[in-house]
């Protein structure tokens, strides 16, 4: 079990009073809580802060934590033999050799004084539901588009007959339905902690993040793709091959197509089972050659001399009206 310096995490002295600890926690929770923070690594930072707070806010847990002694951050520790009994810590100290090797400090204090997390042993004979598990999962754009099967393994804490916490593997194979979008939450019923005495099993909640695609930009179920056109293609119209997530299609570009114009391909966005598919929008960009051959320059000059088109006509009108 690795040591974590809860005082350092909260940025307080070891002698800090309850109010100082609470203030420090609130300040850091405000900064790192994943629901209100956009800080990098907010979730991991908040986990540490919440863990420190859960222990130091409770006078008995804090005393027990202090009794563990002072170590370097991450140093391997083992509580003294009488430590658990001394503090009535749900007998976590009663385990034999190796009893603390597979758990974190947070697991130890979660078990402390009967304060097991949901999913632990129930008090009395009442049924107790299993705890919900939450996890963040990152998938590729293709996995989100087509659906995917993922194998996840959560390390969860379970208690043996002696009440000693152990971290055990909790592998789950999950079918992610097609059409999930970035930030969406999915529920896997019954795959959280085990219920006790007939209590229902907890659920697994997955928050999905979708890695950006190099070609398609997603906005929910709608997708956007850039469509570069040469000036003459935009003026004369053309047919071009356009990539879509389901494979390339031929797109007819009408004559007189403007830069910035969006061409909608209905239903070519992200589809969901039993739901309406999003659209794919091709955004026209008029791309000009950065270098031109002599012949090309000659043709452009001829066009410039011949054409009556004024691309700034609207701007000139608006500017005149503004004066």
């Amino acid at each position: 079990m690795k040591y974590k310096d809860y005082y350092r995490i909260l940025g307080v002295d070891r002698g800090a009073d309850e109010d100082a600890i609470k203030t420090a926690y609130r300040k850091l929770a405000r900064k790192y809580h994943p629901d209100v923070s956009k800080e990098k690594d907010a979730e991991a930072r908040f986990k540490d802060v919440a863990e420190a707070w859960a222990t130091l806010k409770d006078a008995e847990k804090r005393k027990a934590y202090d009794q563990l002694g002072r170590y370097a951050e991450g140093e391997e520790i083992r509580p003294p033999p009488d430590w658990g009994q001394q503090f009535g810590a749900g007998r976590p100290g009663a385990g034999g050799a190796g009893a603390f090797e597979d758990i974190d400090l947070s697991d130890l204090f979660a078990a402390f004084g009967g304060g097991r997390p949901r999913g632990g042993r129930a008090a009395g004979n009442a049924p107790r539901p299993g705890g919900d598990y939450e996890a963040a999962v990152q998938i590729s754009f293709d996995q989100a588009f087509k659906g995917a099967e993922l194998e996840l393994d959560f390390g969860v804490v379970e208690y043996d007959e002696e009440g000693t916490p152990h971290r055990v593997s909790h592998p789950v194979k999950i079918r992610i339905p097609r059409g999930v979008t970035d930030g969406q939450t999915l529920r896997v019923p019954g795959k959280g902690g085990k219920g006790v005495r007939g209590g229902r099993d907890g659920d697994l909640f997955l928050t999905i993040s979708v890695r950006p695609h190099p070609v398609f930009r997603a906005d929910g179920q709608d997708l956007y793709v850039d469509l570069p056109l040469a000036p003459w293609e935009a003026v004369l119209g053309t047919s071009v091959q356009l990539p879509t997530p389901a494979g390339a299609v031929m797109l007819k570009v009408p004559p007189g197509t403007r830069a910035g114009q969006q061409m909608r391909l209905t239903g070519r966005g992200v589809a969901r089972d039993g739901g309406k598919a999003g659209n794919l929008y091709a955004i026209v960009q008029i791309v000009v050659p950065t270098t031109a051959t002599d012949r090309e320059r000659e043709l452009y000059k001829q066009l410039a001399e011949f054409s009556t088109f004024n691309p700034r006509a609207q701007l000139e009108q608006e500017a005149a009206r503004a004066h």
């Binding site: 809580h33 919440a50 194979k173 039993g274």
Partner: protein
């Protein structure tokens, strides 16, 4: 190992108050308070029976975290949820605009 199917929480499925409370981990009384304070709205009200859309699970679970982690009462949670929702709406607008910017990554 059997394959479990993950279900989206915006699939239009209707939930009772008791189901919403169970899935969010909030007591029913707190869910009622959050409805009273406008944190979310039942999709259907028939007398004393409320029905919620499954998306409310996401909001109610967030309410649960905020309530516990910041030690807030239901009114404060409702206010905070309003701000979070506003931020999410603005982020969605930003995402939509960015998606339309050629070459934006």
């Amino acid at each position: 190992m059997p394959t479990e199917t993950a279900e989206a929480l915006d699939d239009g499925r209707a939930l009772t108050l008791a189901e919403l409370a169970e899935l969010s981990g909030l007591p029913e009384s707190v869910v009622r308070e959050l409805v009273d304070y406008g944190a979310f709205t039942p999709a259907e009200v028939q007398g004393a029976t409320w029905t919620f859309s499954s998306h409310c699970v996401v909001i109610a679970r967030r309410a649960h975290h905020l309530r516990d982690d910041f030690d807030l009462d239901s009114h404060a949670v409702a206010v905070l949820l309003g701000f979070v929702e506003r931020i999410e709406r603005l982020e969605a607008e930003l995402r939509n605009l960015r998606a339309q910017v050629p070459g934006f990554r």
